[in-house]
């Protein structure tokens, strides 16, 4: 498959999913879009190398996440996102339940939020989350436990479970690390 076609296919198959995941991590759709697109631009610039990775999606997610936590970039993104948002059709409003969840996610530390999303949404195991975030498995477990505890009052039927070794979210292949 030609290089460009392969990239286009990868982008088409993964970009929206990654925006969803980054949106859950950041609570800001415009910022998630911007970070994910920027990560794909960087991936294209390194495509001969990136295309050989077992889990290119994890590479994009990691780069996009790092972009969202870069404070200088955040300020610039907000401006770009604001300009873009003013041109685009306003998306439908979030339901009250999801607004509550976004609000709760924003209140917990970034590292906990990332762990929660990677484990419960992306479906990574604790070990896989540890590998993607570069934190020890024990730290990931603690982040998950604390994050869930903080979110418990906001999420229906969520009590404070012990940290599970295996994810509940959608199953996926183990990521290779870029």
């Amino acid at each position: 498959m030609p290089k460009a076609d392969e990239f286009d296919h990868f982008y088409a198959m993964t970009s929206r999913r990654l925006v969803g995941q980054l949106f859950a991590m950041t609570g800001d759709l415009a910022e998630a879009e911007d970070a994910v697109q920027e990560a794909y631009i960087r991936a294209w610039q390194r495509w001969p190398r990136i295309r050989t990775y077992d889990d290119r999606e994890a590479w994009i997610r990691t780069v996009a996440y790092r972009l969202t936590i870069n404070s200088w970039r955040n300020a610039r993104n907000r401006l770009a996102a604001h300009l873009r948002a003013s041109r685009r059709t306003e998306p439908p409003e979030l339901s009250a339940t999801l607004l509550t969840l976004v609000s709760g996610l924003r209140k917990i530390p970034e590292a906990q939020r990332r762990a929660i999303v990677l484990h419960h949404l992306v479906g990574l195991s604790v070990e896989q989350v540890a590998a993607e975030t570069g934190a020890p498995a024990g730290t990931v477990k603690a982040r998950l436990a604390r994050g869930r505890k903080a979110l418990a009052p906001l999420v229906a039927d969520l009590d404070e479970p012990s940290t599970r070794e295996h994810p509940v979210g959608p199953s996926r292949e183990a990521p290779a690390h870029a």
């Binding site: 697109q37 294209w44 949404l121």
Partner: protein
């Protein structure tokens, strides 16, 4: 317990679904175009720098962040690259190139032992190389005399300055480039 965790996963999935469903993304062709444009811009900058690059005979050093293949400090193949500090940054190469300071001139000054501090002294009081090389023959202001004194130039440094005959803007550019001791050592 499984239900409670499913509750969180379910709500997160719903949230992500909202993000995915409402994402307003560029086409892959547009993404590739942006990547290409950015790479071109970077290459363009590099080309601009290399246009003013003059390889320093003997040292093999070029401006523009290139390595120093001719230097004795160049590691043997298979070893790690030289430390970043001996490479000129794009900014350093740019300011030197703007005033047509060549790598050969910098190398000659470095070889004579001229330090970054001395270059700064010269730049701060607008001293030319000729003034510093021959302070007796040149008309110097009081501030320049002080600077010439504080620069503590050796005979070798004075000789090198005389040979290279740098103008005030060139010396200011050298000061702006703020070459590190490691860079000067690598050049020399």
């Amino acid at each position: 317990m499984h239900d409670s965790l499913s509750g969180l996963s379910g709500q997160l999935s719903e949230l992500a679904g909202y993000g995915s469903g409402n994402a307003d993304l560029d086409t892959p062709a547009a993404i590739r175009q942006r990547g290409r444009w950015r790479a071109r811009r970077r290459r363009g900058g590099a080309a601009l720098l290399s246009a003013g690059v003059i390889a320093a005979a003997g040292t093999g050093l070029t401006l523009g962040g290139a390595t120093i293949p001719g230097s004795t400090r160049t590691p043997a193949s298979g070893q790690s690259a030289p430390a970043a500090s001996v490479r000129l940054t794009a900014y350093q190469a740019h300011v030197l190139e703007q005033t047509h300071v060549t790598a050969a001139q910098v190398a000659a000054l470095a070889k004579s032992g001229l330090t970054a501090a001395q270059i700064k002294e010269m730049a701060a009081s607008h001293l030319t190389a000729a003034q510093l090389a021959n302070p007796g023959k040149e008309h110097l202001s009081a501030a320049q005399i002080v600077a010439a004194y504080t620069a503590h130039l050796t005979a070798a440094e004075r000789a090198a300055l005389a040979r290279e005959n740098l103008s005030v803007p060139q010396i200011i550019a050298l000061a702006k480039a703020n070459l590190t001791a490691a860079q000067l050592a690598a050049l020399a």
